[in-house]
Symmetry: C2
Subunit: 341 residues, 2 copies
DNA sequence: TTAGTTTGCACAAACGTTTGTGCAATACTT
DNA sequence: AAGTATTGCACAAACGTTTGTGCAAACTAA
């Protein structure tokens, strides 16, 4: 007979006890405050029978802690972020925390609004995969030492904790792989410009080309969003403009999907006409016409690490110890890269 | 200079006003309570300058409304659910609501715990894609008229609102399509038994076989989870045991991935050896070796409808008006079904 | 038996809002 | 000028917890 109109005051009245005592039983502080085992049992039984759920909101107000964290991602429907979200939700729940979800739709304005709303909600901390072009939304938060952890994209100029992948090395690995397979004209479909992930990946790509004795042509780098449509449009442009291209490096899973759509539309085939390698491995990539070779990110590790670091910040005595974590990016070789004589 | 230590009491003191007045300005009740425009402006300017964020928790306590809904899904990393989640989050935010996320991992026990936790959190309502085998977790909620909307899976025996797809018709459509292409030995890889989605789909499949003059063999229906691994294992068993099978109907996107893995492992090809059709369209299905023919669900419509219905329940004077909505399932024809002479 | 100690619980303030109502001061009316 | 109406704001209770402290009653010791 669950009755949410019951609160600990009514329990107290019903049992002829004080609110104080009931509260202390519920919060398992019986020893500390010397509540007798007998009384404790009476209270617990009563709660059990009536399925009473003490008002958490009042508790939050009094304790000044909501046991809630905010999670803001650019696109929860992107499997990369939803996988991260899953592991964060799991880790949070196992530690007694709730997760409020915000989807910024890669929109800086919306992101800022979400951050503000979550501050109002008094979340204890924030995990955010920022749009990432501009750090101004977070400058104050970080300098106030508000518990916050960035995932995926982050800001070099901000002394905040983050968890991401070793994007530079990942791009190096991918580009070397293409060069090693004989490719000389390698294009790059990039993501949102000005983001740390994009900058590092493009840098890895360009520097590897140069150190491989190839000319790195910035015209072969196109795109300005991690979306499917951006990948599609820029792949079309790129492949029409530079017919000599034999390989394309895609900087995200969605970009790769867009590129594939474009390639198909142009009547070309992977890997016969165009070789393709992409960031962000997905289980289904193995079933593609040409199973995709990828540079993978460890999504669930990113999520669990991010939460653990955030938890440190929330409970820590030393809020100045920031953690910066870059996880390894394994290259997963499939069949989308052709070996050129 | 954002300072969350500011609250409306301090604003009041700083401005020489009463807390009451400040509160009324903030909540835009100036006309109702006759706060002069001049005073209102003073308060608003002060808040603007100091970037003050009034304590939402206190408001929630006083108002007995959290402007928060709970969303529980079996697997947020499944694109089907993450797409729904995205549209719900969007719709919720646009209506001033927050979304607390819970991932039940298709575990009844965990689901029940999540529901209980969210009740404690005093969410104003709940949207839940239930594990769906057993309705007992929700019986009380529904009978108490707690605002709740089921999505995807639901319970016939419960008079609760739900939004799902016309699963029966979808299965009929898919099965007819296979029969129409000459298939006579059609297997079915089902999802979690006892769930509404699964029952309706299997029913549609079996009845279509029968009405098509084919024998419906229950041995050709295997599986008990919507997961990739379940699809994989049962596809292996099924294809080994019944070599006469020419087509497989998969009841979810993940099951289809598992089936594909099994088919590949057995050295067979889609659609040459095995035709395949699956529920839950995904954008990337078009890039598969054999682009998959699917029966699609309208995820974002499911999400937005679910929230709107929930909102109705939350604000409505008439909590007894339940809505049951089944959205259309279009058949998307690609190349995974072979025409048999 | 009495003084000292321990046990078991209650009082009341505090967390930061919202809101019905009351009460001055000002404005309006004739 | 005096009475009435209106304007502008403040008081205080309430939402339901948590917690430092106080104070009887019960137990212990001599």
């Amino acid at each position: 007979m669950r009755d949410s109109s019951y609160n600990i005051q009514k329990i107290a009245k019903s049992l002829g006890l004080s609110v104080t005592t009931v509260s202390r039983v519920i919060s398992n502080q019986t020893e500390k405050y010397r509540i007798s085992a007998k009384t404790a049992k009476i209270v617990r039984d009563f709660i059990e029978v009536h399925q009473i759920e003490p008002n958490e909101i009042a508790r939050q107000l009094r304790m000044k802690s909501t046991k809630t964290i905010g999670l803001i991602v650019p696109d929860i429907a992107n499997p990369f972020f939803s996988e991260i979200a899953r592991s964060i939700e799991n880790e949070a729940r196992n530690n007694g925390y709730f997760v409020i979800l915000g989807d910024s739709n890669d929109d800086q304005k919306l992101e800022e609004e979400l951050v503000s709303l979550m501050q109002k909600r008094r979340v204890d901390g924030l995990i955010i995969a920022p749009v990432g072009k501009d750090s101004k939304t977070f400058k104050q938060l970080v300098s106030r030492n508000f518990p916050i952890v960035f995932v995926d994209r982050y800001f070099e100029e901000l002394d905040g904790s983050y968890v991401s992948s070793s994007n530079y090395e990942g791009a190096v690995k991918a580009t070397k792989f293409l060069i090693g397979n004989g490719h000389r004209n390698i294009a790059c479909l990039q993501g949102l410009q000005g983001t740390s992930t994009n900058s590092n990946r493009v840098k890895g790509y360009l520097e590897t080309l140069e150190s491989g004795g190839l000319i790195s042509d910035r015209n072969l780098v196109k795109g300005d969003s991690y979306s499917e449509s951006d990948g599609y449009h820029n792949a079309l442009i790129l492949l029409k403009e530079f017919p000599q291209i034999t390989a394309v490096l895609c900087l995200s899973n969605l970009i790769a999907l867009g590129a594939l759509r474009a390639i198909k539309e142009l009547g070309k085939k992977v890997p016969e006409d165009i070789s393709l390698i992409t960031f962000d491995d997905q289980p289904y990539f193995q079933f593609f016409q040409s199973p995709l070779t990828t540079v993978a990110q460890q999504m669930s590790s990113i999520g669990t690490s991010a939460f653990q670091i955030l938890l440190d910040h929330i409970v820590s005595e030393n809020p100045f110890l920031k953690q910066k974590l870059l996880l390894d990016m394994p290259l997963i070789e499939r069949e989308s890269v052709r070996i050129i004589g």
